[in-house]
Symmetry: C2
Subunit: 396 residues, 2 copies
């Protein structure tokens, strides 16, 4: 049987055809009026997409690049910072902060779990200059309570900044960033915005800009103040990834179209879509007797425990070999124990039902046990059928 | 929920991404060495794809254009021809032959049915100059017995030509054209070859070329002898649809890849794939208590009777509104009575399971009756699971 290569990974995600076309045909030089117009339009649209009044910058790097920018711009060597970690991406905050000489206080939750707000409160001594956390921990599929964390951090006034890695969270999670008082939020192009890797972005609060007046950690390519100054003149400080900007422009138009001309509404559609795909997938997995890995599962992806001591690598391989469907294995210590199916961005009903149908064969073959065909699919269909028709059709 | 636009129509069919890219980037002028090389390679590959030693021509027109070419090149006004018809495309043969002044003898089977070879034998008087038929009647989903028909026609020796419209049949049906003695077989680009409409092709036997020496029906754009002469010099007689040639070249490479370097094997993979998608779809529809329209169903598409007097237009509309999935209504008198799901070309397991999952919701909503979710999907999964693993993986 023919097998189409399909990504069900938490980034990169399936590409939006209109973005592919835009990217393929874009040739303008970056120091021209044409590109400046695109650049300015994208930055303005990105504020709407992220849902913030703060400045948004888009850089030519991966998400980790902007994570580094947050650390290097907002801290000085010796600063005390608090990292909330419950997975591989939380650990990346720790590694980054240490690389820039911060004194790192860690609040760790077990893989698959999230933090108690009381514990955060206790760790948040007055000398903590910044708190780093993920919105959704892609390595475990857990959702962290950004609103609750922001509430705790804001009790410290302007002395403590809150930095949220929402690389898989943006476009899959509801945020009121300015209302909650998040200082820096970070996203990446190869996620809910449905374009290839190569761009990462952040929104930066006035409080965070103030902080940069005095911080001394070394930075050059990721100097956010330099980039902001340049962006105010309608250009990037260094050579921008032009074709990806063209793709991003097209993706933002698509999202606006989903919101019937309203980009913020389009983002809500995208978030609801991820929530629904995730809910269908969770119902499907559970109908097959599989356990979810995360106690507070994110809409970005569903991490499913490998059954009965079977190496999840076998399941990942079987998805690939039989269906050319790429799902993700666990990372680090979780490798072999779980597999992850993503819902970030460009997925619909047929994709979701298709991958659950495939999961049933994969499971039968990997475990050698009979599987009741249609069981996962039916559970997902029931989730879908219970929705009001209007919500089924959002994004027309 | 997000809805991706997907075609499940018996042409146009889903586009092959590699063909889209090739088409988008192709700019060469058609009277250049570059284009001539592509043109010649495509014609040679098309012989392998069709599975014939006969000359293949590719013209800038729709499939109907080459149907007309077959009539205008192979008949003279007043010639007696036999049309075998069991649907809208059979009726097109009749209309075409009449337009060119043939004396048309018709053997009609009821919509959804096929012909008895004995009846054909009876109709095949020695004065019949040509027999026209479809390999698969796309309007009803029926498969005709080309091998059996060829056997009957060949009892007439070289006096009677057999012309087969295989526009939806090529790449979905097994043929041994030269072995069976088919004189002209006709195909179109927007079908199993996974590219847009705009090209149609035919393979022409020596017997048919001989016939053209004496036939007098008017033809100019569709003059096959002129085109053959030009093709022998590596060019088309009139301006070719260059970007579609580039797409066709890429599609043929894809098919060759599926056959691990062997184009004929790749075509077999494509045929097997359509057979499997069709078998899964038939099992799924029947599990929901739906009736198939065709008594000898083709692999190209599955025509499903609308249940309980429900207008099939409602079902087609529901597929579109709820899932942005485009399935076909019945044509002509069959409009409102059946809907058609195609399997021609670029479909895989996830597509097939996805559309069957969608069918369950569509049916529930159209009939207002409860549907057992997962029933169609399960039946299709059981078809898939029964296959030897090797056949599941063909086309890797």
């Amino acid at each position: 049987m023919l097998r189409k290569n399909r990504l069900f990974t938490p980034g990169p995600t399936p590409l939006l055809p209109a973005a592919q076309t835009a990217m393929a045909s874009f040739t303008a030089h970056h120091r021209t009026a044409d590109f400046r117009a695109l650049f300015q339009r994208v930055l303005a649209d990105m504020k709407e997409f992220i849902g913030t009044q703060n400045d948004v910058l888009v850089l030519a790097c991966s998400g980790t690049g902007v994570m580094e920018a947050a650390v290097s711009n907002l801290t000085s060597p010796g600063d005390k910072v608090l990292v909330l970690t419950a997975g591989k991406f939380g650990e990346r905050w720790t590694a980054l902060a240490k690389a820039f000489g911060c004194k790192v206080e860690v609040l760790a939750a077990a893989y698959g779990e999230t933090f108690s707000l009381d514990d955060i409160h206790l760790k948040l001594t007055p000398d903590v200059r910044a708190v780093f956390v993920q919105a959704t921990e892609s390595s475990t599929g857990a959702r962290h309570d950004v609103q609750g964390i922001a509430k705790v951090v804001r009790t410290r006034g302007d002395d403590t900044l809150l930095v949220v890695d929402a690389i898989t969270g943006l476009g899959t999670t509801y945020f009121d960033l300015d209302g909650w008082g998040v200082d820096v939020i970070i996203g990446g192009s190869q996620k809910a915005l449905m374009i290839p890797p190569g761009l990462a972005y952040c929104a930066v609060s006035e409080r965070a800009w103030q902080r940069m007046e005095t911080t001394t950690s070394p930075r050059f390519y990721f100097d956010l103040r330099k980039e902001r100054k340049s962006a105010a003149k309608g250009e990037s400080a260094y050579t921008p990834a032009t074709s990806l900007f063209a793709a991003l422009g097209a993706a933002l138009e698509f999202v606006r179209g989903m919101g019937q001309g309203d980009l913020a509404k389009g983002r809500e559609v995208l978030v609801n879509n991820a929530e629904l795909c995730a809910e269908m997938t969770r119902a499907g997995a559970q109908a097959l007797g599989l356990k979810l890995f995360a106690s507070s599962p994110a809409a970005a992806l569903t991490a499913i425990c490998s059954p009965n001591g079977i190496d999840s690598g076998k399941i990942v391989k079987e998805f690939r070999d039989s269906f050319d469907a790429v799902v993700a294995n666990g990372q680090g210590e979780m490798k072999g124990q779980l597999f992850r199916i993503a819902h970030i961005g460009y997925y619909d009903y047929l994709d979701t039902i298709g991958i659950l149908g495939a999961l049933e064969h994969v499971l039968a073959r990997s475990t050698g046990k009979a599987v009741e065909y249609g069981a996962a699919v039916r559970a997902a269909q029931e989730v879908y059928a219970r929705l009001p028709h209007k919500r089924q059709l959002v994004g027309a």
